[in-house]
């Protein structure tokens, strides 16, 4: 057993935390310093994470756990701890790698921003929290970091706080995810009171729920699983709590890559994977996860077609891909979900950073105002194209393999969801083709000269592109390295994967071809649909009116209720209390009037008081 690096794994989140503290202490003074401190912190984490992962890939070493007592309440105690499993070791590398690249990239992207040091401190705090979440060995520790990543996301979405849109988006991101968090909180309360010895650590959760041992009643198990899933839905932008994620694109683009594509939003998937035994003990919960995931995958992909903001298209794509991951988990394929999480982290981070490079050059986010950028920004165009192909599931790019794994599982488990997945894949490749062709081909639309971005920005693109191409080969139908390593079991059933490959590739290619016909060749008019069915386009552009529905059904009634209660509070409750108080004052006034200096009055009062006292003393004896 060799756990040398795992034993010091707690250092991994500590590096960025120290960076955060340094940046916090230096304030706005440390302009250039911020970049260095932040980058060095994340690099240190990355190196150690890679060492931990290598340790876990070698034979013999599997697991390390450590922690301490946090709150001691006599017969109860709550712990904070970390553990290194294969899954968390993999996630460590994903998080630190993307975080490091985003740190490097931001040095170029955020250059000249007077609050760049603040920006780096937020990224460092986020990286710390995300790594803490990944390493957590129990539900409470996970919840603590879960909330912390949420607040970092909030801070970064609202980074350009003077913009009203950023303020609204930050608020929305925090509140909508908090709805999910409330569910997760109740799940933790349930676990605490139902688990033997009030244990909240994942190891014992696994032991208790593995193989539906019946220690926890079936109904309660389902309830716990669903409530955990509610938390995951909030964080991972699943329907119906997806509304915050596209708005979160108000944040700086490197943040969208790091938090709102590669890492934090995947935390929901990670959470379900961590507590997978609870889900597997409840068929109803598994079905819920699968259908919500499948529906979200399709639902968000259709919206992606009608958006014009490059970042919003990618955001809906993220929602859609997270739906795929959830669907995989719901269908029982832990490997499929985590595999797609892994590949998606690289190609989606690549796409977002590419989008950042474009926005940096053309100063707009509207794809209709772009065009012909391919010749001017060669590195961006090439790497973005690789990312787009990976997302569209074209072989041999990484997304193809992971999507294929999910679709194969769906084919075995649930044909309906297989069809849903295939349709969503078609829309995916279509909206990516639309995006790519509108941005990179055709004639330039904007004014002014356009340059390729600086090296600090393009090098991370190139590195990510390499991963977007190669990351898929860790798990193919002929080679189940990842699956066996993650779950310890032999690879899943791959029969039929040949068919799936053919179908999904065909569908992906069809989407791209259609996009080419519409947006390059012009064989099909762009307004072919919007002229015939304007309501449909409107529906998609308005994102199925979900925001409007929430405003009408939740926000307005709540405000109305508040105003109503406010009026009641001011006039009725305060009024009644005022009357009671007024009576006391009147009594007091009466008392003052009695003090008129006449001895007879005093005598009378004394006698009265004596009588009352006697009555009280005598009466007390009969009080029972």
């Amino acid at each position: 057993m060799n756990t040398m690096f795992s034993e010091i794994a707690w250092l991994i989140p500590l590096f960025p935390f120290v960076a955060f503290l340094l940046l916090l202490a230096s304030g706005r003074s440390g302009q250039g310093l911020g970049v260095t401190i932040g980058t060095v912190g994340s690099l240190a984490s990355l190196v150690l994470s890679i060492l931990v992962l290598m340790e876990h890939m070698s034979d013999g070493s599997k697991y390390y756990q450590d922690g301490f007592k946090w709150i001691d309440l006599g017969s109860f105690q709550l712990n904070i701890g970390y553990e290194v499993t294969n899954l968390s070791a993999l996630m460590l590398v994903v998080v630190t790698a993307v975080s490091f690249l985003v740190n490097v990239y931001s040095a170029g992207y955020m250059k000249g921003d007077e609050r760049i040091s603040t920006f780096y401190s937020y990224i460092a705090l986020f990286t710390f929290s995300m790594l803490g979440l990944v390493l957590a060995d129990n539900m409470l520790t996970l919840y603590i970091f879960w909330e912390l990543v949420g607040v970092c996301s909030f801070l970064l979405v609202g980074f350009w706080f003077t913009k009203p849109a950023a303020r609204a988006a930050a608020k929305k991101a925090f509140i909508v995810t908090r709805i999910g968090d409330a569910g997760l909180l109740i799940a933790i309360l349930l676990l605490f009171w139902y688990m033997p010895d009030h244990a909240l650590d994942f190891v014992r959760i696994e032991n208790v729920f593995e193989g539906q041992s019946g220690t926890v009643a079936a109904g309660v198990t389902t309830l716990i699983a669903i409530l955990i899933f509610v938390g995951a839905v909030g964080k991972s932008g699943q329907f119906p709590l997806h509304v915050w994620l596209p708005d979160a694109m108000e944040g700086p683009t490197p943040i969208s890559a790091l938090i709102h594509a590669a890492t934090m939003v995947a935390a929901g998937v990670y959470l379900v994977a961590r507590t997978f035994d609870i889900f597997q003990a409840s068929p109803a919960a598994m079905e819920t996860v699968a259908y919500v995931g499948g529906f979200t995958a399709l639902f968000a992909a259709t919206i992606g077609i009608a958006q014009n903001d490059i970042k919003r298209i990618l955001a809906y794509s993220t929602v859609s891909q997270l739906g795929y991951m959830m669907m995989a988990l719901g269908l029982g394929s832990l490997t499929g979900g985590i595999f797609h999480l892994f590949t998606h982290a690289f190609f989606k981070a690549l796409l977002f950073l590419g989008a950042g490079s474009i926005i940096h050059a053309v100063h707009t986010q509207n794809i209709n105002e772009m065009g012909g950028l391919g010749s001017k920004m060669r590195i961006t165009a090439w790497t973005f194209g690789i990312g787009a192909l990976a997302l569209s599931g074209i072989p041999p790019f990484s997304g193809f393999w992971s999507k294929d794994a999910i679709l194969t599982t769906a084919l075995h488990e649930n044909p309906v969801l297989f069809v849903v997945g295939i349709i969503a894949a078609f829309f995916t490749s279509f909206y990516m083709a639309r995006l790519f062709f509108l941005v990179f081909t055709g004639r330039p639309k904007g004014e002014g000269r356009i340059h390729e971005s600086s090296l600090t920005m393009t090098i991370p693109l190139i590195i990510l592109a390499v991963f977007a191409i190669g990351a898929g080969f860790v798990e193919t139908p002929w080679n189940n390295t990842l699956g066996e390593w993650l779950t310890g079991a032999a690879g899943a059933d791959h029969s039929g994967s040949g068919l799936v490959m053919v179908v999904s590739t065909a569908v992906g290619a069809l989407g791209i071809y259609l996009g080419w016909l519409v947006f390059v060749k012009g064989t099909i008019a762009r307004d072919a649909v919007s002229s015939r069915a304007p309501w449909l386009v409107g529906l998609l552009e308005r994102k199925y009116y979900i925001d409007e529905i929430y405003a009408a059904v939740i926000v307005k009634p709540l405000r109305g209720l508040g105003s109503l209660l406010n009026a009641i509070d001011q006039y009725i409750i305060d009024g009644i209390i005022a009357i009671i108080g007024g009576t006391a004052v009147l009594l007091g006034r009466g008392g003052i009037r009695l003090q008129n200096g006449q001895v007879q009055t005093y005598g009378l009062i004394t006698v009265l008081g004596l009588v009352i006292l006697i009555i009280a003393v005598v009466g007390r004896r009969f009080w029972s």
Binding site: D72, R167, R178, D181, L558, R559, S563, G581, R620, W623
Partner: protein, 537 residues
């Protein structure tokens, strides 16, 4: 060494030194008056920190008691002749245990911060600081008094200084607010006094020997008699046949319990007795609201715990659901109303109502987790609301308004203060890593054992809290900034110091809750034993 000193009295009356010095200083020398007051407020903080360092929870406060007979009036019994004398005993009895210590520390911390924050006071400094220090004596006394009448005296000692502090140094509607404050707290005190007198005349009865019997206000005597009523009844019956009936009567227990619930419920405040405190929040000077929201409201919860719950566990157990429902109403009602307020101070006032609801939930759980949660929530909310009103004071001094509609974008001109405000907001909405989470989480966790659905409903409050906190805090700090605020200066050193100190305490409790849970460890032992013995068995 510490146990040889009358440390509790030293702490309580240490501000007297400052009062004497202040009285000797000329009224115009604002600087010296201020320095004296701040210096004096440091004294009890240091002493209580010393006490905290020395405190051993395993002994549950046993060594820290100071006791002197205060009033001892003999009166001959009418019926039995002079040989059998009866006396009425009141004691100056101070004590500290796991319940008192955290709140004593809170008091000394918040009082010092409020003294620092009083730089915004613009007139009559001398009398301001004298009232201020008197108020501090009263508050510390409340948390240490171990005789019901002594408790009452200290409790009243906080009312009078508050009345003047609101009425003289407040905003436009200060006099009306001060009157309201006095009337409602006066009603609460009157009800409390009735309950205490009933307690003394029933459970306060104690027989020392054949010829010495007395009615006592001693908390220990009352508690011992209530805990083991049969022994008390036997003794009392031997002495006077009729007495036992009254003492044991169920309805008497209920009467006292409900009177205490109302008396302390007004202070806490429990819906619908909350309207008086809204005015105090808006009209009192911010440094006084720091005290009011930070400490005075906690006296209500403390009184409810110390006298209502610990003395009457059976009644509390039977009414646990009622308490929890009241708590949930407080949480949701406060949160929904905080959501629609247009004035930041009112948002915070309703937020206090909402957060005190969590305390009620913790109390209603009647288990160790929830009770500890309630205590932590008290300390945590005390620190957080003190911090928030500290910021309100500094904000108002610069902008002249706390109307949300007139503010915005202040993070640009005042990044430090906005950062602190955001931190305070995050603490208030229960972000892990900050103190608010611990109190909230433990209260909910405790209550969940017995009342699942109610707890789940209360969790809705967690969402609503995020809604109103972010709405108000972001309205002030984020968004476009008005031209007139461009030149605003960020916090000065004297403002920054208490802000940083309070944030530090909030973070400390959030990360190492053991600083609070350790001294409280055995604070509820007797109550829990009694509950499991009487109710469970």
């Amino acid at each position: 060494m510490i146990s040889e000193l009358p440390i509790l009295s030293l702490i309580t009356f240490s501000p007297l030194i400052g009062i004497i010095i202040l009285a000797l200083l000329p009224r115009g020398s604002s600087r010296w008056l201020r320095v004296t007051a701040i210096g004096t407020a440091i004294l009890p903080l240091l002493l209580s920190l010393w006490l905290y360092a020395d405190y051993d929870s395993a002994k549950d406060g046993k060594p820290y008691e100071e006791q002197v007979t205060w009033v001892d009036t003999h009166f001959d019994r009418l019926s039995d002749g002079a040989s059998n004398s009866l006396s009425f005993k009141l004691q100056y009895h101070m004590g500290i245990d796991g319940l008192s210590l955290p709140l004593l520390l809170l008091t000394t911390i918040v009082a010092l911060m409020a003294a620092l924050a009083s730089v915004h006071i613009k007139k009559r400094w001398k009398s301001f600081y004298i009232w201020f220090l008197l108020l501090e004596i009263g508050m510390m006394g409340v948390f240490m008094a171990r005789d019901v009448i002594l408790f009452f005296v200290f409790f009243e000692m906080t009312l009078i200084p508050m009345f003047f502090l609101i009425g003289i140094w407040g905003y436009m509607g200060r006099e009306k607010a001060a009157n309201r404050f006095l009337i409602y707290n006066g009603i609460g005190s009157a009800i409390m006094l009735i309950a205490f007198v009933l307690l003394i005349s029933t459970a306060g009865f104690s027989i020392e020997s054949e010829s010495v019997q007395f009615f006592s206000g001693s908390y220990d005597v009352i508690k011992a008699n209530l805990m083991d009523p049969q022994a008390a009844v036997n003794a009392a019956s031997a002495w006077n046949g009729n007495y036992g009936n009254l003492f044991m009567s169920e309805s008497m227990h209920w009467t006292i319990f409900i009177l205490l619930l109302i008396a302390f419920g007004i202070k806490l405040p429990i819906f619908p007795f909350h309207t008086w405190m809204l005015r105090v929040h808006t009209e009192a000077p911010p440094s006084i609201v720091m005290i009011h929201s930070g400490i005075l409201l906690k006296m209500g919860a403390y009184g409810l715990l110390r006298f209502g719950i610990i003395l009457f566990p059976e009644q509390a157990h039977e009414w646990a659901t009622v308490l929890a429902v009241l708590g949930v109403i407080n949480i949701l009602y406060g949160a929904v109303l905080a959501f629609v307020q247009k004035e930041f101070k009112l948002v915070l006032a309703y937020s206090s109502i909402s957060h005190m609801g969590i305390v009620l939930l913790g109390i209603a759980s009647l288990n160790e987790i929830g009770l500890q949660g309630a205590m932590i929530q008290l300390v945590s909310h005390g620190l957080i609301s003190a911090l928030l009103f500290l910021i309100v004071g500094s904000l108002y001094e610069r902008t002249g308004t706390t109307e949300l509609g007139e503010l915005g974008g202040l993070a640009r001109s005042m990044p430090f203060m906005s950062g602190v405000l955001l931190t305070a907001g995050m603490a208030s909405l229960g972000l892990p890593g900050l103190s608010g989470f611990i109190g909230e989480f433990l209260s909910l966790l405790g209550l969940f054992e017995s009342m699942r659905i109610l707890t789940a409903v209360a969790v809705l409050g967690v969402i609503l809290t995020a809604v109103y906190v972010l709405r108000s805090v972001l309205a002030i700090t984020f968004g476009p900034m008005q031209e007139k605020y461009v030149a605003l200066r960020d916090a000065r050193l004297i403002e920054a110091v208490p802000m940083i100190a309070l944030v530090a305490f909030i973070v400390l409790i959030g990360i190492f809750p053991a600083v609070l849970t350790e001294p409280m460890k055995h604070g509820f032992d007797t109550l829990l034993q009694q509950l499991s013995g009487k109710v469970g068995g």
